[in-house]
């Protein structure tokens, strides 16, 4: 089921042929989604869904409008074109409107794997079953989520751009909880290619952590050194990346405005610690992403290198106004890290806390990029370079800017899931000094 890339390309061309507006941009997507969800060691709300979507924007000069629909029959598409053109004609002129992008040079994406695309619900069930059986055998209650998506898409515009894309992805996470002692553990993975995927080790990590986190001891809040496992690190790194914006900075309403003097430029400034390097690369094989953003080619981009801010995302209008090149935001994020094992990182900490993952991260203060959130599913005290035992959870109030400033050491990058987005990321565990654990959470 679903539409092939060539069918999607033909659909885009057909719709562009219906458009009488001066300019148009269309994106068509066809997806197959397989969901296996479990709780209390049984499957709960599974699903196998097929969907399509068509997004069309048109403009008459500087008047524009957009429409999104999920039907591809001739009548629906014609009515959608008629509707969006009527809306565009009525829309006031936007002085910042630009025509669609010109054709560019697009890299070949690495986001597709046949094995993932061919995975059936039965295949997925058989891979999940050993995980649930392992949880039962260990006497823990598990709750898991497997999401496999296969999407094909095409993007085209009235300037001659026509780019097909495809993406296969599987994400899996498991929470294991103990009846006695309020233990909880979590582990996850995300892959493009499921050929060698074995979910059992992921489940076993969660189960082991749950058992190890029973009978947590009280430990007070306060600023301390933390070892953030990759899932926690990726949340903070993605929040930092999304906070970077050239226009917001130029307009005086970005956290960077508080870091440089009036009239100064943050690019080239050592705003972070020397160990901080973060980049995006659509063709980075361990965590690839799409190769264009609305027709604008996406290439390898270094955001931070050795602590120095190198690049800010900038939209097309603002780039033109400032005489600089437009820069799409990140489609993936990579932090190479220092390659140390988790045990080696823990060994560097005299007194601190190991964090498995975060939960409910929210911006508290945009002026400093201060975020709040909580630890969950495996929080452990570190004493004299070793795990000293499970401790209570915490609320933190901390800025990812400080995290990269206070970065003391890092591990080897991993592709895991986070709480905030499922954007492909390959990031290591981090050792961060002076991290603000603001208060104790009674959650377990």
């Amino acid at each position: 089921m679903g539409l092939t890339e060539s069918q999607l390309e033909a659909l885009c061309e057909m719709v562009l042929g219906l458009v009488s507006a001066e300019e148009a941009e269309i994106s068509a997507d066809s997806s197959e989604t397989l969901v296996l969800r479990s709780a209390n060691n049984d499957l709960t709300t599974n699903a196998f869904n097929h969907t399509v979507s068509v997004s069309l924007s048109v403009s008459f000069g500087k008047r524009s409008a957009s429409i999104l629909l999920n039907q591809t029959d001739d009548t629906s598409l014609r009515e959608a074109v008629k509707k969006v053109e009527a809306m565009a004609r009525l829309a006031p002129e936007d002085p910042e409107a630009l025509p669609p992008v010109e054709p560019g040079s697009y890299a070949e994406p690495l986001t597709w794997a046949e094995a993932t695309a061919e995975m059936t619900p039965g295949d997925a069930l058989s891979r999940l079953r050993p995980v649930i059986e392992a949880a039962r055998a260990a006497g823990v209650e598990s709750a898991g989520y497997l999401l496999r998506t296969v999407s094909r898409s095409a993007f085209a515009n009235s300037r001659g751009v026509l780019v097909p894309s495809h993406d296969t992805r599987l994400g899996f996470s498991l929470t294991a909880r103990t009846g006695e002692g309020r233990g909880s553990g979590w582990a996850s993975t995300q892959v493009t290619d499921t050929t060698d995927l074995d979910l059992l080790p992921v489940g076993e990590r969660a189960i082991t952590k749950a058992l190890a986190s029973r009978n947590a001891q009280a430990r007070p809040a306060g600023r301390t050194t933390v070892v953030l496992e990759a899932a926690a690190a990726r949340d903070l790194l993605s929040l930092l990346a999304w906070g970077l914006d050239r226009r917001d900075f130029d307009e005086g309403r970005n956290f960077l405005n508080g870091l440089v003097p009036e009239g100064g430029d943050p690019i080239g400034q050592p705003l972070f610690g020397e160990k901080a390097t973060v980049f995006s690369d659509p063709r980075y094989a361990p965590a690839p992403c799409g190769v264009h953003s609305s027709g604008l080619p996406m290439n390898r981009t270094t955001w931070i290198e050795d602590g120095v801010l190198k690049t800010l995302p900038v939209g097309r209008f603002w780039a033109q106004k400032k005489g600089i090149s437009p820069q799409p935001g990140p489609g993936n994020l990579i932090m190479p890290g220092e390659g140390k094992s988790l045990d080696e990182l823990i060994a560097t900490v005299e007194d601190g806390v190991l964090v498995t993952r975060f939960w409910y991260l929210r911006m508290v203060q945009p002026q400093t990029l201060l975020y709040t959130g909580l630890t969950r599913d495996g929080t452990f005290a570190i004493r004299n370079g070793k795990i000293a035992g499970p401790v209570n959870n915490y609320r933190f109030n901390e800025s990812p800017v400080n995290v990269l400033r206070n970065l003391a050491a890092s591990g080897a990058p991993e592709r895991v899931l986070g709480s905030e987005s499922q954007m492909p990321m390959h990031v290591p565990a981090l050792v961060v000094k002076d991290f603000n654990l603001s208060s104790v959470s009674d959650a377990s």
Partner: protein, 549 residues
């Protein structure tokens, strides 16, 4: 109008108002209404043939409009429409579910095969069978009455409205102002093997703005967002709002906030306006009392709950004056429907969650009540946010009830505070996965000294434990001070589903709540921290008030 009369009132006028300006959407909806009985008959028959002990068919059409204005530039004129269907089956004690955007007899019948295969794939390794209660059958239609269909209001009027907001803000000296509007029309058709076959539609609308003032010399800025909540209502929710006046006031408040003294962290008496408190109700009462969370169904994402079934009828959730009531029938409520997505009629299913301070009820969907020995079955809290989403337990409208004295206002609550803060508007929010430890900010923080407002504070957040917080409540506004807040996008489930929900509240007073200085939390404002230490307040703000249990 009494809420039940309003909920049952399917008027000709209501129907007429739902005609769409996008003809294909209206035409398709009419087509679905016409064909639904045949679709339902064949899908349910096939499900029975394949061994389903229960099955339902959902069709859904979602039409949306949105508008975004940056300063005086109209930058986002958008519309969307989606249709699709899903089949849910219970076979041999296991759920199966499949969905498609292709609504045709063959397409829907193919879903039955896929859903049954998914359920049968669990044969032999389930631990416990899924069991559901029998539900009464219902037939009929319900279309939410609105005074003015937002989809019928001209684009010009909508654009002019937002431009007026932004011009008022910019005229008052705002550096920037963004405003937005969105409207959603949700149509659903549901048939199940209990004999239910219903059709309903509703409308929700969300206006808003966010203004920014910048001090480039200090590298500082402050924002103030609109306090106007989304509502299950028509265009009248916008036409009744003096948005330009609020945006001008917002500029003054943002400027005052930027120049205000930083709050000294410590314990303060708080008077919280409904525009802030609705979200606190949502996070500290709404989510903890979802039975699926308490039973572990959300453990991998949204979390579990401190509020476990053994605490029913015994947990002192709040002080004796605290009453929190749940319904899916309140006029204007974002969660209001006539039938939930399991086919339960919501009218008559209203229930107290907290009565006189005691925890009394969970929110439940199909198949959950018996697990805790509750004999009444589901209380109508199922919802699926799209045609391809499995219905799960979602929040009804949950509201803090007014105090007994109708004459009590925010001002009279403030009069009873010596040293405190009056908080308006919701800002940042976060709470742990078992709903103990929360932290909220707001839009405006007015200092209270000796019973009167006295300027503003900046950098305020309040933090606490849900049960301690509600037990610290010692004052409630009267019925005239009741306001309905809410959100369009409450998140839950995997894949995440977003649900609209309203929460009514009155101004309420809470004694000795832990207040943080957010700048100090970021490590920026050392001066504030030192000052707090001198006053003996800092250390006690950094500890949970609860012992480890």
């Amino acid at each position: 109008m009494h809420r039940r009369d309003w909920l049952k009132g399917t008027t000709a006028a209501g129907m007429a108002l739902l005609s769409s300006r996008w003809t294909v959407a209206a035409d398709r909806a009419a087509m679905l209404s016409e064909k639904f009985p045949d679709f339902a008959s064949s899908v349910l028959a096939k499900a029975r043939e394949l061994g389903a002990s229960f099955a339902d068919l959902h069709l859904m059409q979602l039409d949306e409009e949105s508008l975004f204005v940056r300063e005086e530039m109209v930058q986002g004129v958008g519309a969307s429409s989606s249709q699709g269907g899903s089949v849910r089956v219970l076979v041999d004690g296991a759920w199966g579910f499949a969905a498609t955007s292709e609504i045709s007899a063959p397409g829907l019948l193919a879903l039955v095969d896929a859903a049954v295969a998914m359920a049968k794939g669990q044969a032999g390794w389930r631990q416990l069978p899924v069991e559901i209660e029998s539900l009464p059958s219902h037939t009929g239609t319900w279309h939410q009455p609105v005074e003015s269909d937002p989809f019928a209001v001209s684009l010009e009027e909508k654009v002019e409205g937002l431009l007026a907001v932004n011009r008022a803000a910019l005229g008052k000296g705002a550096s920037y102002c963004h405003s937005h509007f969105s409207a959603v029309r949700e149509r659903k058709w549901l048939a199940n093997s209990f004999g239910t076959q219903v059709e309903q539609s509703r409308i929700r609308i969300h206006p808003g703005f966010n203004i920014t003032v910048v001090d480039p010399k200090k590298g500082e800025f402050a924002t103030r967002a609109s306090l106007r909540p989304p509502r299950g209502a028509g265009w009248e929710h916008i036409s009744e709002w003096d948005a330009a006046a609020e945006s001008a006031l917002a500029v003054e408040q943002a400027r005052e906030k930027m120049a205000a003294p930083p709050v000294v962290p410590g314990r303060y008496d708080l008077v919280i306006a409904p525009s802030n408190l609705w979200l606190t109700v949502h996070e500290t009462v709404g989510h903890p009392t979802e039975l699926d969370r308490a039973l572990g169904y959300e453990a991998n994402f949204a979390g579990t709950s401190f509020c476990t079934p053994d605490k029913l009828d015994s947990l002192r959730y709040g002080s004796e004056i605290v009453n929190l009531f749940a319904d899916r029938s309140a006029e204007g409520g974002l969660s209001t429907v006539r039938w939930d997505d399991d086919g339960v009629e919501t009218s008559g299913k209203e229930f107290p969650i907290v009565k006189d301070g005691i925890f009394r009820n969970f929110q439940m969907a199909l198949g959950q009540a018996a697990i805790i020995g509750h004999k009444g079955g589901s209380n109508g809290c199922a919802y699926a946010d799209s045609f391809d989403a499995f219905p799960i337990q979602r929040m009804p409208n949950i509201s803090l009830q007014p105090g007994t004295d109708a004459a009590v206002t925010a001002e009279s609550l403030i009069a009873g505070v010596e040293n405190g803060i009056f908080i308006e508007g919701n800002g940042s929010w976060s709470i742990d996965q078992q709903r103990y430890n929360f932290q909220f900010t707001g839009q405006a923080f007015h200092r209270i000294r000796n019973g009167k407002l006295d300027g503003m504070f900046r950098d305020v957040a309040y933090q606490g434990n849900s049960v301690d917080f509600w037990n610290a409540c010692d004052g409630l506004g009267g019925a005239p001070s009741y306001e309905l807040g809410g959100a369009m996008n409450c998140g839950k489930g995997q894949p995440q589903q977003v649900a609209p929900v309203s929460h009514g509240a009155v101004p309420a007073r809470f004694r000795q709540i832990n207040v943080l200085n957010t700048a100090a939390e970021s490590g920026k404002s050392v001066a504030v921290r030192n000052r707090a230490r001198e006053e003996g307040a800092w250390c006690c703000t950094q500890r949970s008030t609860h012992s480890w249990a």
